[in-house]
């Protein structure tokens, strides 16, 4: 019956149907269809809020009038805003640097632990990363508590002065960076460990035959082989750290005197607590061009190295 119907169709219609079937069978089409639910989810949960926040950023304070870029122009004239920019950069860059450094060193230690004991170490070292940061930061808050700091208790027991961990701007900045490093270093550790395991042993053997010492093996073999993974992890971590909210919010709420605010906490302060949603949206959007710039440079480097290879 179906064959009869097909036979009766005009040639053009049959051609169309065949090409449709071929289109549906193409790998790229199947891949697209399978990825469609994810694309739709991202569109709904990421793209829509992003465009909505751009829309909000163009409204006046009472959200009744379109003001274009006036909110950004206003922000750029505020001293506190530039202080937040500076703090966010200090926070993100120093935290990512130390996370990468600690992750790299610890990955080497773990890599050299005999295989039997390695799983235990890997599991233990991942603990900070698997605890929800709002919870672990609460524990850190108790350690830094203005009146009942456990660290201060120890310092005083050994005859040293108590440290105003969260009351002094410099110590408070140190505290938020420290907690971020503690939380994020295991991510670098696990990525670098995986990268280390994928470096072919023959390269080290060849280097050893050539008389390379430990440092030269690290510099000329390990690092070049890990360059892409380092770039990707740094980019990813930079994005996440720049957008950090929970650690600063729980530990200091941006204080003292706004000196630990980062973009997200400052946006929350302006948008939600001070009732100026458009200005809060502007602050949070300011991260976007900075991160986009960082992403372009880092990804371009990776692509170039890929092409060279």
């Amino acid at each position: 019956m179906a064959e009869a119907v097909v036979r009766d169709l005009p040639i053009a219609a049959r051609e169309r149907r065949r090409s449709m079937r071929a289109f549906a069978r193409r790998k790229s089409t199947i891949a697209f269809v399978m990825a469609l639910p994810l694309i739709l989810t991202i569109a709904l949960l990421v793209a829509y809020p992003a465009f909505y926040s751009i829309f909000l950023a163009t409204l006046n304070k009472s959200m009744e009038r379109f003001v274009g870029f006036a909110n950004f122009a206003f922000l750029f004239k505020r001293e506190t805003f530039w202080m937040v920019v500076e703090q966010s950069v200090i926070f993100a860059v120093s935290a990512v640097f130390f996370k990468a450094l600690i992750g790299f060193c610890v990955a080497h230690f773990v890599h050299n632990v005999p295989t039997r004991g390695q799983r235990k170490w890997r599991g233990m070292l991942l603990v900070p990363w698997v605890i929800p940061p709002a919870m672990s930061t609460l524990a850190w808050l108790w350690l830094f508590d203005p009146s009942y700091s456990a660290f201060n208790w120890i310092l005083q027991r050994i005859g040293l002065d108590a440290v105003p961990w969260l009351g002094n701007p410099y110590w408070a900045r140190f505290a938020v960076i420290l907690v971020n490093v503690w939380f994020g270093a295991p991510f670098f550790l696990i990525m670098y460990l995986a990268a280390l395991k994928s470096v072919p042993e023959q390269l080290y053997e060849a280097a050893a035959i050539d008389g390379a010492n430990w440092w030269q093996k690290l510099w000329f073999v390990t690092l070049p082989m890990m360059r892409n993974i380092i770039a990707i992890t740094v980019l990813f971590s930079l994005i996440v750290t720049f957008a950090n909210f929970d650690i600063v919010r729980v530990l200091t709420s941006g204080g003292p005197v706004d000196q630990t605010h980062v973009f997200a906490t400052w946006a929350f302060k302006l948008g939600i607590e001070s009732g100026d949603i458009p200005l809060g949206a502007c602050v949070s959007l300011f991260m976007f061009p900075l991160l986009a710039l960082a992403a372009i440079f880092i990804l371009r480097g990776i692509t170039r190295r890929g092409n060279e290879a």
Binding site: N60, R78, S147, P164, G167, G255, P256, V257, D258, G275
Partner: protein
């Protein structure tokens, strides 16, 4: 093929049912009502409110749902903002302090129920009117749960021993305040008391962070010296002798406070008092209530009373809460009926009792409940907690227009000025200039 026969009789029955349907009272004839209340921190307080609401719902035949929303992590605030943006959510929502005025354009006018309530329960304090009335109209109903004042809560024994002042004599339980003693209860003598307690090893626990407890007591201090950062017309008035005086006072007080007060949040002062480390904090009696459980010996020595007086008067910090009905609510009439019911004297008394005396009704005629005279130990500790003397209930940053004041309050402009001149080592002039620049930023429309 089957055919459905629609007889004349069936048509008449169906028509009659359709016409009569709106007039048949089912168990939920007055429709559905969705309410978002503030999640009270006092155990059991929510249960009493739920029971009262359910009694009302059964009588009014309303299908009522109640959500208790915590203020921890600003969840209540986020809920309000999200519902206003989505124009969907609860019909009735608790709006803490500044958020009734902030959401005024999204809220149903409430003149028709607040005015009769004022006639029934007495006037509301000025701060409630300042926050709840916008452009001459009530935008929300003053709520009992959550409304509080933040006078000093101090140690009777330490004040007697180190300051030589009997707090129970100055503000006796069940009787008016002693005029001679309260006349001497000034910010100048407060400073002397702070110094004596500091030297005795029990510093006053007054935060200078960016949360409400810190901003509120500094707001009272500024008001007592007549220091307005922005006036009622929206003019920046921070550059004044009054501000300078208040800051000079703060500069003298800060050395007698714990060194880490710049990092304190709203829990820090409570912990300070409950642990027995300090002689005074400025807070609602939540610290006393927790001390009853965690450190009864300290609780037995606590007394709550009004703030000291300054050159321009005695100002006790007050934070009223409100109940608002969204303009987009589905059942406004049921919402108004519920809020009216919850504001009647007999109901308010039950709510205050359920909160252990923590909640302070905004209506002046509702400040004589026996709970405040009876609570203890020590008995009468809360008698002078509800404002009933010469004090003015005040919110920091008033009388600036609320849209500006809310930003000043959220960004703690007053405590930051003190932090700058003390911890930061800046001059008073520089701190005032900084504040003026910040305030200019808050003026944008």
């Amino acid at each position: 093929m089957t055919s459905t026969k629609f007889s004349r009789r069936r048509f008449l029955v169906a028509s009659a049912a359709a016409v009569a349907a709106p007039y048949i009272r089912t168990s939920h004839a007055a429709g559905k009502l969705s309410v978002g209340f503030w999640d009270h921190w006092v155990p059991g307080a929510n249960n009493v409110l739920t029971k009262l609401c359910n009694d009302w719902a059964a009588k009014e035949r309303v299908d009522l749902t109640i959500d208790y929303i915590t203020s921890q992590g600003n969840k209540l605030l986020l809920t309000g903002t999200a519902e206003a943006q989505a124009r969907s959510g609860h019909d009735v929502l608790t709006l803490p302090t500044w958020y009734a005025s902030a959401q005024a354009k999204n809220l149903e006018p409430m003149d028709d129920i607040v005015k009769p309530l004022i006639a029934e329960n007495g006037n509301v304090v000025a701060v409630t009117e300042y926050l709840g009335k916008q452009d001459g109209h009530w935008v929300a109903v003053p709520a009992t749960p959550g409304s509080q004042v933040k006078g000093p809560c101090a140690r009777i024994d330490l004040f007697k021993k180190h300051v030589g002042l009997d707090l129970t004599k100055m503000y006796p339980a069940g009787a008016p305040a002693d005029k001679a003693l309260t006349d001497r209860w000034t910010w100048d003598n407060f400073l002397l008391a702070a110094e004596k307690c500091f030297k005795a090893g029990y510093p006053f626990g007054l935060g200078l962070g960016e949360t409400t407890d810190s901003v509120d007591w500094v707001g009272s201090l500024f008001a007592a010296y007549g220091a307005e950062l922005v006036d009622a017309k929206g003019n920046i008035t921070v550059k004044s002798d009054a501000t300078r005086q208040a800051l000079e006072y703060a500069k003298r007080l800060v050395p007698f406070l714990p060194p880490d007060v710049f990092a304190w949040d709203d829990a820090s002062n409570n912990k300070w008092l409950i642990a027995g480390k300090g002689a005074l904090i400025m807070n609602p009696p939540s610290a006393w209530a927790v001390a009853k459980r965690d450190n009864p010996k300290v609780a037995e020595q606590l007394w709550t009373f009004p703030a000291p007086r300054g050159p321009k008067g005695r100002y006790t910090p007050g934070l009223p809460f409100f109940w608002g009905i969204w303009k987009f609510a589905n059942n406004k009439s049921a919402g108004k009926s519920l809020l009216t019911y919850l504001s009647h004297r007999a109901v308010v008394e039950q709510l205050v009792a359920a909160s252990g005396g923590y909640d302070i009704p905004s209506f002046s005629g509702l400040r004589d409940f026996k709970i405040w005279a009876e609570e203890g130990p020590p008995k009468g500790t809360l008698y002078h907690y509800p404002p009933r003397g010469d004090e003015t209930v005040w919110i920091a940053m008033s009388p600036a227009p609320t849209a500006i004041a809310m930003q000043m309050y959220a960004q703690a402009t007053n405590t930051k000025m003190i932090a700058k001149i003390t911890q930061g080592g800046e001059s008073i002039d520089k701190a005032i200039a900084w504040a003026a620049s910040e305030l200019e930023g808050f003026m944008r429309a």
